[in-house]
Subunit: 78 residues, 2 copies
């Protein structure tokens, strides 16, 4: 069974670098990776917030939030 991993971003340069490098490096045979652009999918900001995401880019694996560098605070995406 694969583990759910969600990469939240907002299209910012910091986000793109993290997506291309970190999200890309996840083991797809074990993780079901979903990429969510919160700038385009504002309806999902609440879900990210609930998972503990404070800024983007962030990776939520197994419900745990990991903030990767810092692109933008979640508050500016609401």
């Amino acid at each position: 069974m694969s583990t759910k991993a969600t990469f939240y971003h907002a299209g910012c340069p910091v986000c793109v670098a993290a997506e291309r490098t970190v999200a890309e490096a996840l083991d797809r045979s074990k993780y079901n990776v979903e990429i969510v652009h919160l700038g385009q999918q504002k309806g999902r900001v609440a879900e990210a917030e609930k998972a503990g995401v404070k800024s983007v880019p962030a990776l939520v694996i197994n419900g745990q939030p990991f903030h990767i560098n810092h692109g933008a605070d979640l508050s500016v995406l609401k």
Copy 2:
């Protein structure tokens, strides 16, 4: 050929969570993952700093630094 990925940490709780979840999720068939405890290997702090690491835990993939959440500043490990 596998890409070099180095996970720098200092044994802090934030570091351990990131190691178990993010470093663990990397695709080992594509990435050669090395785990470095900077508290125990102070001789490698300079190398991390040179790669752009400002705090731990951090993951350096292909020479690019990605800070994952925030455990401790690199300066306290010198």
